[in-house]
Amino acid sequence: MKTSLSSLIVVSLFLAVSAAAAEDKTPTPFAYAAPAFIKELDTRYPAQPPVPPSPPRYGGVLHFPATVRAFDPTVGYRPELALVWDTLTEWEATWYFPDVQRTPVIRKTLATSWEMVNPSTWIFKLRQGVKFHNRPPVNGREMTAEDVKYSYELLKDKAQYSTRAALVKTIHVVDKYTVKFELTLPDPKFYLNVVDSLSPVIVPREAVEAPGGLAENPIGTGAFMLKDFVPGEGALLVRNPEYYLKDKDGRALPYVDAVRLIFTKDPATDMALFRTKQLDVMRLSTLDTLYALMKTVPDLQLYRVPSYGWGDYGVSMAVDKAPYNDVRVRQALSMAINRDIVAEVMNRGDAALYGPFPWALAGYTKRADYSYASLGPNYQYNARKARELLAAAGYPNGFDMDLEWAEFQGWTFNEFVQLVARFFGDVGVRVKLKQLETSTWLNRVAGVQPFSDTLAAASPIGAGPSFVDWVYLRYHSAFPRTVNRAGVGDPKLDDLLTTWRHDPGEKRPALQRAIWDHLRDKVYRITTIVPPHYRITQVYVHAGANPYCWFPGYCSYEAKTAWMTDKAPNRKFEKFAQ
């Protein structure tokens, strides 16, 4: 239904656009009438959800969807692993709110304080009295500095942790509760880089070295202990009774007795599970699915927040070869796209404009700032100017382009590439769409394999609000294509990034804005829009004293503070299949 409706919209809109282009007039900006539904959502569900009632209720089993192949951090990264294994620190779920994105809140988990000796040397003090899960072969012994050293040395070279851990050269145990990090590059904000579950988690050596390793001995310091793992179906994790964190009123965490992860793969199944109260928390990809679900579950709780930057729609270009090595061509292609129409077609207009990297990192912290005015002329639809730029670059008759894409869960690239192809066609660029098998596409997105001309893909993301993740690693020419995926080699940009890296903090906001300005001018990647996150919960679920998190998986530590009212279904938790 959605596809056919969207196709209808695409056809109608393009008839309008084509007519405008044919008359060679400056097209009027596309003004979509935001459906009444969006307005209703704005009113009923403000970005900051209401504070849940207090005190929280203990008990209950929280269900949410996930995909975990192995509960073993040495094998692969999944955000859900944060339920069992802790990092030294973690993000509070507040940092993504538009008005606080620049001051991320860090929850001190295994580390309680840190000190910068110099930008290349950091000392972390560890929490005392933290116990590993009371299971053999570890049997609830205390976590110490030796475990931190062991875990970082074990995991820092693993591909899944390399973004953060590669920055660490050596780790020294100063005393039982103190570790010292020596870094490969000076970093005055290193403490931000040990946050989040993309950083090495702390594991006990005995469990790693026991037969079957961590997969058979999933022992950590986390709020939950893995009780039952059924590959392909799901997992059951029960409350760690000795978990060290307390809520702000000193009550023990977590509140729920258990968490059941259900490994789903089909959106219709997710919705059926939610309708039948077998899922308590989930994320939806589109406004259409939200609308469909709200019709049958009218009392659901919605947290609708502008995306920080995850899930955008964009086009990567082979910037190291003609014609994409010419900035005029890149600017022309960007101007050829009417982003209002993209938003309308991709998500009924419920989307924000997106620039070179997250708005908040450039200092734009209000939703009203997410505008064409902040993005500049390269992001505004101007077919005439686009044709002029192409002519100036030596392509008055356009050129041929291969646009590669793939189906990927959570995105609708098939509609996006058709739109882009038509927009490019209007300025003379003849696009041939090439659908790739998803894994092949992922390889090209990751920079492991080159793509021929252009590739429809989301922007490379960071795991938190870290400028290092989102920008520094992605655009500095010192990094290989697997990191700097666009293959950008721009000396001026390198200078800006290096200056930023060495700055202790005062000049960083201004430098980040300068980098934003540079990138929006050079258009190394065409970005368009990013839909908001629709995170829904059943009416009987509260997220404790913390604001809601937008994505159950990435904020799985939220399960520590979630609680359920007495209206929640009564669920058993002896094994997964119950």
Partner: protein, 316 residues
């Protein structure tokens, strides 16, 4: 007969060896590998880190060496360890085989319960209203895709009855009630499609047999019509039906992926699809070898059943 079986078994082994060689080579032609497929989108590993991870998994060793090691394990009954979960492939397969077998057997029973009576009735009462209704059912069964039927079913079950089949597989010998409530609906959806094919085959095959001289003779001898159909016609008409059922059963083992996804009952097909997407070579190899073994065995059983259905058939 023994010589025939021995020869077929040898042929089967040859087929399995060729399959092992083909799957081992083909999965390595696919772009990407297990190391890359497990990376989070936010990860930014260097080529050196990736090379180290590949080395850990043994993916950097020469092709022939990898094949020799794997085959040596296969001969001993060890299919290796999954590259993504690090669990033994045999262990991963066994759990899924149990679920798939339940679903396949249940679907097949439902299919036969629908197909055989309707097929026979349609043939015996050719060109009557019953025949037309049966054929309409067959066309419907063939026209409605499994995934559509499954999506519609689960959606409307949730909206109208606030119920969907329970999550988490339980074998029938452990919890029959739960097992049936989990698998009956997906099995019916899969079985309806299979029934359509079997029903058409039963009808056309029986129609052909009913025109044979020996049926005329049986009727001329004064046998009742039911005896003629059941004792003389049906058994002979079953040869092509059994062939179709054998093929369908083999397909069922790996071909119910979408229904498995929708009803959260992941079988071997889902496992294989996941393995392909994650480039989990050892798991792909193990699953494909399992499918090949089942298909070889099923074909042998079907061929052997011919002589029981028609004693004139001799094996040499």
């Amino acid at each position: 007969m023994r010589t025939y079986i021995a020869r077929r078994l040898l042929h089967g082994l040859l087929v399995l060896w060729l399959v092992s060689l083909a799957v081992f080579s083909l999965v390595r032609i696919l772009p990407g590998d297990a190391v890359l497929m497990q990376l989070d989108q936010a990860a930014a590993p260097t080529p050196e880190t990736l090379a180290r991870a590949r080395q850990e998994l043994g993916l950097d060793r020469p092709f022939l060496e990898q094949y020799r090691t794997w085959m040596a394990g296969v001969v001993r009954g060890d299919l290796g360890h999954s590259l993504t979960s690090r669990r033994p492939v045999t262990q991963e397969l066994l759990k899924r085989v149990s679920l798939t077998s339940h679903l396949a057997v249940m679907s097949m029973i439902i299919a036969l319960l629908i197909a055989l009576p309707i097929g026979v009735l349609a043939a015996v009462r050719q060109d009557t209203a019953g025949d037309y209704v049966g054929r309409l059912f067959a066309i419907l069964g063939l026209s409605l895709p499994d995934f559509w039927l499954a999506t519609v079913t689960i959606t409307f079950l949730a909206i109208w009855f606030q119920w969907i089949p329970p999550i988490g597989f339980a074998p029938i010998w452990e919890d029959p009630g739960r097992n049936l409530s989990q698998l009956l609906i997906p099995a019916f959806i899969i079985g309806a499609r299979l029934a359509a094919v079997s029903m058409r085959m039963t009808r056309s095959s029986l129609l052909e047999v009913l025109r044979q001289d020996y049926i005329v003779t049986a009727r001329a001898k004064g046998n009742r019509e039911r005896a003629v159909i059941v004792r003389h016609a049906l058994k002979n008409a079953f040869i092509p039906v059994v062939t179709i059922i054998g093929q369908q059963f083999s397909v069922l083992l790996g071909g119910t992926v979408i229904v498995e996804f929708i009803f959260l009952q992941p079988g071997v097909g889902s496992l294989l699809l996941d393995a392909v997407q994650l480039r989990d070579y050892t798991l792909i190899q193990g699953a494909v070898l399992f499918f090949a073994t089942v298909i070889v065995a099923m074909n042998l059983l079907v061929d052997l059943s011919y002589s029981w259905l028609d004693p004139r058939i001799r094996y040499r």
